[in-house]
């Protein structure tokens, strides 16, 4: 079992982390390159920079968005807060990351880490309930939407149980191994699932504005490609 634990928190973790970092970097780079590709061909290369910045910040820090669909919005914000901060600042994780990458930063005290972890778990459960209770969300949902919720939930729950043996009814080592493996899987899957939004969200308002900057010759080129250049309307 120890060999499995060492594998899961050693090579497997480093591999998953590398896939996540490189994959997300690729997605972000592609987003920026797409804007460059658009503007290179656009007849109008100006962009409403202030509007883009405001819209981007309003979604990165969505305090003003809580008024609409409040339960969902609040659960989402709390989940994201817990899910981003807790894994990065938990003492055990800081140690692990330092051992794997040489990078280190201060850790949270255990109580704060617990609260954030519970926020993440609670928020995730509310998101799940909303997804099945709200008709439009249920209609829209695909298997992968539920799969991603599970993918994120397992490492948080197992991590919390591993950190609190008194609350853990399962064999400690098994829970720990499940925590390591599920976390590795989560990291690995980031670039291949909708979790990719963590790096695309800051670019999305920019892309959506650039999207209306058209190539002035596109219509004629398309007509030619379709053999319609001399065709009447």
């Amino acid at each position: 079992m120890d060999a499995w634990l060492d594998f899961a928190r050693g090579p497997a973790f480093r591999f998953a982390l590398a896939v996540m970092v490189l994959g997300l970097l690729r997605h972000f780079a592609l987003a920026l390159l797409s804007v460059r590709a658009i503007l290179r061909r656009a007849g109008d290369k100006t962009l409403p920079v202030t509007q883009i910045r405001k819209a981007t910040l309003s979604w990165l820090f969505p305090v003003k968005k809580l008024g609409h669909h409040t339960l969902f919005a609040a659960a989402s914000v709390l989940f994201h807060l817990g899910a981003i901060v807790a894994p990065l600042l938990l003492a055990a994780h800081v140690t692990l990351i330092e051992a794997s990458t040489g990078l280190a930063w201060p850790a949270l005290n255990p109580l704060a880490a617990d609260i954030l972890t519970l926020l993440a778990i609670g928020g995730l459960l509310v998101l799940f309930v909303v997804r099945i209770a709200k008709r439009a969300a249920r209609d829209l949902s695909q298997r992968s939407d539920y799969g991603v919720l599970l993918l994120v939930l397992v490492p948080f729950v197992t991590g919390f149980l591993a950190a609190h043996p008194g609350l853990n009814p399962f064999p400690f080592t098994a829970v720990l191994l499940l925590h390591f493996l599920s976390a590795d899987l989560l990291l690995f899957m980031f670039p291949f699932t909708k979790l990719v939004h963590v790096v695309l969200l800051p670019a999305t308002q920019l892309v959506s504005e650039a999207a209306w900057r058209f190539d002035p010759d596109a219509g004629e080129k398309v007509a030619k490609a379709l053999g319609k250049e001399n065709q009447r309307i």
């Binding site: 592609l30 969902f72 959506s208 058209f214 398309v222």
Partner: protein
């Protein structure tokens, strides 16, 4: 083979439609700037279900196909399957999604049920512009012949017809109409206001929705009076006097040709820029796309007439009586000028001054509901019931809640739609007007004539 589009489509080649759709999609992806955007959107989907709450169509139908995210995914799914390596491999290995005639029909119907009002974008955490995807999907569909006849006929006349405008008004009829309106102003107010025609060197060339010349006499008279009182330098060009741009609703090929003609008319008349009339989509098409298709940074500037009127009123050049309109008035924000937060306060400032009882609809400004006729659907008479009972229900509820006598809708399309919405929702006492219709009623003629005497 009958197809189930609810609107009339001119006869077109029904053979091999999926293949031809993919061919058109491929050509557009290759030759336009949509490729990177669609690729980005295809990788970004969270299906969080915030957008349905904002869609006026979904709010009435509750149908899955009317959820903005779901609608956009119809085109994105085709992209993923046929234009990404992963999709192509998946298609070969598995018995996966395939583009069929039925799927095409579903797309065609779905993308014309959307009014392209872009309200959903306000609540999309991922910032996906579903209106853009509707815009692109309609272009692709139009390239294989699936496009409402009402729009094609208008664009055909505007770009290739004898009259060069969507209402097929010949130049002599335009001139007669302007002379008639000048006479009306003289008779009604004892004032000489001109509709200048083909005046070279004027500052602005006027591009209203050309249908205003047939349907909106009061709006045009109000504009002419404002220009005359304030010494505005403007002209109507006989080479192109139609601001309508249905290319915005179904084809970038047409969109570009129409705005190029506008810019060419501005240059022919050696004017500074485009003065768009009271029309949301005409204003947005000119403002948003003249720089793209006609000169980039050197393109002629575009101003909406409401911006002009607001400016001269603030400068003290336009005497308006406070509280002149006694009945309750409300304002409908046309999506094409309000959704981006562009023209919101100018008309309100004026209305709050000239109306004794002005009330806003709720929600309003950027968040205002579409009238239900957006995206060109107002021109499609075959779908009137859908337009007014489904797409226009939220608007009817908004208007009813205000208790207003006048709805100011500074847009030719919105005016037609709001009138029909009111008719179909039992709001017969409501009158739909333009901003300049009410301004005309609120002119302080004593001050205008005194200033004129002093100047003389």
């Amino acid at each position: 083979m009958p197809r189930k589009m609810p609107y009339y489509v001119e006869p077109y080649d029904l053979v091999g439609r999926p293949a031809r759709f993919l061919e058109a999609f491929a050509a557009i992806l290759e030759h336009s700037t949509y490729g990177p955007v669609i690729d980005f959107y295809a990788r970004l989907k969270t299906r969080c279900a915030r957008c349905p709450d904002l869609c006026p169509v979904y709010q009435v139908t509750g149908e899955k196909r009317d959820i903005p995210c779901e609608r956009s995914d119809m085109l994105l799914e085709v992209y993923r399957r046929y234009f990404t390596t992963r999709g192509k491999m998946k298609g070969r290995l598995l018995d996966d999604f395939e583009l069929t005639d039925e799927y095409l029909d579903d797309m065609a119907e779905s993308y014309w049920r959307c009014t392209a009002c872009r309200r959903c974008k306000l609540e999309c955490p991922m910032g996906i512009d579903h209106g853009l995807i509707t815009h692109l999907a309609r272009w692709i569909l139009s390239e294989i012949g699936i496009v409402p006849k009402a729009l094609v006929v208008s664009v055909r006349e505007q770009l290739e017809g004898e009259t060069k405008n969507t209402s097929a008004i010949p130049v002599p009829a335009l001139q007669d109409n302007c002379a008639f309106l000048e006479d009306e102003i003289r008779e009604m107010f004892g004032y000489e206001a001109k509709f200048p025609i083909d005046v070279k060197g004027a500052e602005w060339v006027f591009f209203p929705a050309v249908s205003d010349y047939l349907l909106e006499a009061d709006t045009l008279m109000g504009i002419a009076v404002v220009m005359q009182i304030t010494g505005g330098s403007w002209t109507i060009g006989t080479g192109d006097f139609d601001g309508i741009n249905y290319g915005l609703f179904y084809s970038d090929r047409m969109l570009g040709r129409i705005v190029r003609n506008e810019a060419a008319e501005v240059r022919r008349l050696e004017a500074k820029g485009v003065l768009a009339g009271e029309c949301g989509h005409a204003t947005r098409a000119a403002k948003g796309f003249i720089p793209t298709y006609a000169g980039g940074e050197n393109a002629p500037p575009v101003m909406n007439i409401m911006q002009y009127t607001h400016r001269v009123w603030k400068e003290g050049k336009l005497p308006l009586l406070a509280g002149a309109i006694k009945e309750r008035v409300t304002y409908h924000d046309p999506c094409n000028i309000a959704r981006s937060g562009w023209i919101l306060e100018e008309p309100r400032d004026i209305l709050k001054h000239i109306c004794a009882d002005y009330v806003d609809m709720f929600p309003n400004r950027r968040e205002n509901y579409c009238c239900g006729g957006g995206g060109g659907s107002v021109s499609i008479d075959e779908i009137r019931e859908f337009r007014t009972k489904t797409g226009g229900k939220a608007k009817a509820d908004q208007i009813r809640a205000t208790g207003a006598k006048y709805v100011v809708a500074p847009c030719a399309n919105c005016k037609k739609q709001v009138r029909e919405v009111c008719e179909d929702h039992g709001l017969s006492e409501v009158e739909t007007v333009g901003l300049h219709d009410l301004i005309l009623k609120a002119i302080d003629w004593d001050r205008v004539k005194n200033v004129k005497k002093e100047t003389a």
